[in-house]
């Protein structure tokens, strides 16, 4: 009985320790941001690795998600004779939900796992300790540029996802299924609000970018310095990021759109 209680306590303390370490690491990372302005090239290279290399999968997914939304939406809306509102449906679901969320999930799988593996391997091959021996702060030198790159890339990727999704929906709805061109755009413009929908979507993607990169960096930085440790940390990154994104999405949606 006492043993079970102790096991429960151990789990609780372990979780809190993890959380505490994660937040301390985040503070440490953020403290390196000012120094980064002196060396923009570090940031540039990371935006390339995190953002540009994720562009293809995000662009393709966005287009196809938009096209599928166009198809499915058309079949349902045409039953009510409301095909004209197809644009609203496609744009609202992309800008509010699918854009930020699906991009964040792709981002966690594509960029987050790569970040964890890279940093975990740096740790396993003692490159981070090497940096420390040379009096270079590994958190500020390695983690901060990656963190900021993720934070900057994520909203841009989400915007590209949504924009291409809308174009994909337009292509299917107007091009293939014959929805009226003018009604598609005008209904969309009448119903989608810049602040309510577009800006809230951007805020969502900023939060997701922060959380995904943070989890990836923390998992990599606290990975066991073995091959198994790195592989486990990579898995944890994807799983934890996905949970965090889906959970946070619910909370953010309730805060933003609930009246």
């Amino acid at each position: 009985m006492l043993n079970q209680l102790a096991a429960l306590g151990r789990i609780g303390i372990g979780t809190l320790q993890q959380l505490g370490r994660g937040h301390l690491l985040l503070l440490h990372i953020l403290s390196g941001v000012p120094a980064l302005f002196g060396r923009p090239r570090l940031l540039l290279n990371q935006i390339f690795a995190v953002g540009v290399l994720s562009l293809l999968i995000v662009a393709i997914s966005g287009t196809f998600v938009g096209m599928v939304l166009g198809l499915q939406g058309y079949y349902i809306l045409s039953q009510f004779g409301a095909e004209q509102t197809l644009g609203v449906m496609v744009a609202a679901s992309l800008v509010r939900e699918l854009g930020p969320v699906v991009t964040a999930l792709l981002f966690a799988g594509r960029a987050g796992s790569a970040l964890t593996a890279e940093i975990g391997l740096m740790k396993a091959t003692e490159q981070l300790s090497g940096l420390e021996m040379m009096a270079v702060n590994p958190v500020k030198r390695i983690l901060t540029p990656r963190f900021l790159a993720g934070f900057i890339s994520m909203p841009l990727l989400a915007a590209i996802f949504s924009a291409l999704g809308v174009i994909g929906g337009y292509f299917v709805g107007v091009g293939l299924l014959g929805v009226d061109d003018g009604a598609f755009w005008s209904q969309m413009q009448a119903k989608i609000d810049l602040h309510e929908d577009v800006f809230n979507g951007v805020i969502k993607s900023l939060v997701f970018g922060l959380v995904c990169t943070w989890i990836a960096l923390f998992q990599g930085y606290s990975a066991l310095p073995t091959s198994e440790g790195v592989s486990r940390a990579t898995t944890r990154t994807v799983v934890h990021s996905s949970f965090a994104v889906l959970g946070l999405d619910f909370i953010l949606t309730a805060l933003m759109f609930g009246e």
Binding site: R41, L44, N45, I47, F48, G51, V52, L55, F80, A82, A91, V95, S153, P155, L156, L157, A159, I160, S162, A163, L164, V166, W185, M188, Q189, A190, K191, I192, D193, L194, D197, V198, G201, V202
Partner: protein, 159 residues
């Protein structure tokens, strides 16, 4: 060096595409181009029943949108709904003050909006003025009720 240059170009292109996408979303997808929120002047209109009129519903004149509903409140003294209409600035000194305001429904399932019918007065609506001629929203249950009632009366008349 060459590699750095390609990286720079690609990152630049990525960020440009990202900003273009954001711009596209705000200009083409959302209502930025037609919103003009915060500008214009406010006019009060009192209705007995506004049905399901919502804030931000369009205010139209001859079918053209001239403004939006900016606030809806309830006056507990007169038991009327007070609807504040925000009319765009370019229609300042253009709408007569004996204009008639009605609440319509766009289509069978569409949202409700305020339609203005111009009057003949030489003075115009200004900030804070009130539209006194209004017609409430048609509530479906009331219409059906009236219809049944009149049918019943007809039936009674024949007997």
């Amino acid at each position: 060096m060459m590699h750095n240059r390609t990286t720079e170009i690609l990152v630049g292109a990525f960020m440009a595409v990202g900003f273009v996408a954001l711009f596209f979303l705000s200009m083409q997808v959302s209502n930025l181009s037609s919103s003009a929120s915060g500008e214009g002047y406010l006019v009060d209109a009192r209705f007995d029943n506004i049905g399901s009129l919502k804030v931000r519903a369009p205010v139209t004149m001859a079918g053209v949108r001239v403004g939006r509903v900016s606030e809806i409140s309830f006056d507990a003294k007169t038991f009327e709904a007070v609807v504040k209409l925000r009319i765009e600035d370019r229609y300042r000194d253009a709408i007569p003050d004996d204009t008639f305001a009605k609440i319509f429904t766009a289509g069978l399932l569409g949202e409700q909006y305020v339609g203005l019918d111009a009057g003949g007065s030489a003075t115009y609506l200004a900030d804070g003025s009130q539209i006194s001629l209004t017609q409430s929203a048609l509530v479906l249950e009331e219409i059906i009720g009236q219809f049944l009632f009149s049918k019943a009366e007809e039936g009674a008349g024949i007997e």
